[in-house]
């Protein structure tokens, strides 16, 4: 929202900055602000039109005249405002992409419904493609690097199952049943993703 006591060129970029502050205020990510993005894009296009118009009108003007200074000043200001808006958009999208990548590492290749609501369809596509790319890399080097995210503490851990998980394959081939409200003594790396997701917790004594 443009402030009332600010006018003229200081209005450029206000919308963008508003979007960025919203990013910081949200707990994880705010809803993808497609309106805001649209407004900033419109502002960019408007600035471009102004530059274009100025340059068109200035054809034939000699650069040594004082008029030329005024013209180049206007062009420079519009150009920099345009670049700023572009940077704002880049930063907005880049930040959201970074958060999505973090999500992939922490929680695995599936998005929770809560997360899905906050993303645009493009971003969901990005998440899937990033996940695919990561899996491809892991297949190439034959090492599953999304496992073992923390330094190993103990080999086995007693866990309490919070959500109904069902059957889980262990690394030694056998499968174990994880039913809600049961406790089991398991190898940590078998249940690592479940621990991260919160489906399973370490038993407190």
């Amino acid at each position: 929202m443009p402030k009332n006591n600010v006018s003229g060129t200081a209005l450029y970029g206000q919308q963008g900055v508003q979007m960025l502050t919203n990013l910081r205020r949200a707990a994880w990510l705010p809803q993808y602000d497609s309106d805001g993005v649209r407004k900033v894009i419109d502002e960019i296009n408007e600035l471009y039109r102004k530059i274009h118009a100025t340059l068109m009108a200035a054809k034939g003007v000699d650069t040594s005249e004082p008029e030329a200074r005024a013209i180049s000043c206007s062009v420079v200001v519009h150009h920099n405002a345009l670049l700023r808006n572009k940077r704002i958009l880049c930063a907005y999208h880049r930040y959201r992409m970074d958060v999505l990548e973090d999500n992939r590492w922490e929680k695995g290749p599936l998005l929770s419904d809560f997360a899905r609501n906050k993303l645009s369809s493009q971003e969901q596509l990005y998440f899937e493609n990033y996940s695919k790319l990561l899996n491809e890399y892991m297949r190439d080097i034959d090492v599953e690097i999304t496992a073992n995210l923390a330094p190993p503490k103990e080999l086995k851990q007693e866990i309490t199952v919070v959500a109904n998980v069902g059957d889980v394959q262990t690394s030694s081939g056998s499968s174990m049943q994880l039913l809600r409200n049961t406790r089991q003594f398991v190898n940590v790396n078998d249940v690592e993703t479940l621990l991260r997701n919160g489906h399973v917790v370490k038993t407190k004594h």
Partner: protein, 308 residues
């Protein structure tokens, strides 16, 4: 002594496990397991000849009787007791030594991996990919896991007093594997995150691009593509074509090579030129100093200086 070894490792990891790995925002961790592993290898070297002979005999027999306080076993078992993981490493050693005398013993390779991991974590730039080290370690982990499976099978078949020893040592082997695996994964992860962060810079800089492995290079190009496509779809296609470039020099995120780092010298080195060849510095082995990363980047690659 085996208990001592694992107690110290356990307590080491207890103090460190509170910092969950989170991208590059880790505080620098001073790491001493490398020291412990190196100590291991010193013990090994003393008994290497013995192990060579005895190991080749034991290859035919059932060899996985774990160490214990069983006096009727030979010295070989005594070595098992003190160098349980090291001895099996020796075992791998022998096979390697027969083929190619120049390969490093396994515990050295693990130390090298640990040092590479430490350097990678603390350097602002991406360092050269240590492909032989990674390959060896992967191989060793696979081999060791096969051995453990065999041991577990044997455990279920025979019924003897040795079973307790075997199951205890299986536990230790597993723990050791987990730790080594963690270091390996972390090394690859840190590199990947650096690539993601500096992708445009890496793709444009020849030197940086060459320090990546082939798989990493593929990842880097695809990742840059993916990111650019996302930008394009979201907003770039809607703005004037002259402004659609996101790879302008001022927009590229570059690693901060002017960052100050703490270094430790591994060799005596005289007359190092730093600060754009304006100053001379003498390095003594074991000395610790602080400097801009840029000055010592080449030396880190060569191994004569380590980050701590």
């Amino acid at each position: 002594t085996t208990f001592f070894f694992f107690d110290t490792l356990c307590s080491f990891f207890d103090t460190r496990s509170s910092c969950l790995e989170h991208r590059m925002n880790d505080s620098a961790i001073s790491f001493s397991t490398a020291g412990l592993l190196v100590d291991e290898s010193e013990d090994e070297n003393e008994n290497e000849d013995e192990d060579l002979k005895i190991n080749s005999m034991e290859k035919d027999e059932c060899k996985h009787t774990a160490g214990g306080d069983m006096e009727h076993k030979s010295n070989h078992n005594h070595n098992h007791n003190h160098n349980h993981s090291g001895n099996n490493n020796d075992y791998d050693d022998d096979e390697e030594v027969e083929e190619d005398e120049e390969e490093f013993p396994l515990s050295d390779v693990i130390t090298m991996l640990t040092i590479a991991w430490k350097n990678e974590k603390l350097a602002p730039d991406i360092l050269d990919y240590e492909s032989e080290v990674v390959e060896r370690v992967k191989q060793a982990i696979d081999d060791k896991e096969c051995e453990i499976d065999e041991m577990e099978e044997q455990l279920s078949k025979t019924q003897s007093i040795e079973n307790k020893m075997i199951s205890a040592s299986i536990d230790w082997y597993k723990k050791e594997i987990e730790r080594i695996r963690y270091v390996l994964h972390s090394y690859l992860r840190v590199r990947l995150w650096k690539i993601q962060k500096f992708v445009v810079h890496i793709l444009s800089d020849e030197l940086a691009y060459n320090s990546l492995s082939a798989a990493e290079q593929k990842f880097a190009t695809k990742y840059a593509d993916l990111a650019e496509r996302n930008f394009k779809e979201c907003f770039l296609k809607d703005i004037p074509s002259k402004y659609q470039d996101v790879t302008e020099p001022e927009m590229v995120v570059k690693p901060n090579v002017n960052q100050f780092v703490i270094l430790k010298a591994n060799e005596n080195n005289d007359n190092i030129l730093i600060e754009d060849n304006k100053q001379h510095v003498q390095l003594q082995k074991g000395s610790i100093f602080v400097s801009r990363y840029k000055n010592f980047k080449k030396l880190i690659g060569g191994g004569s200086v380590d980050l701590i």
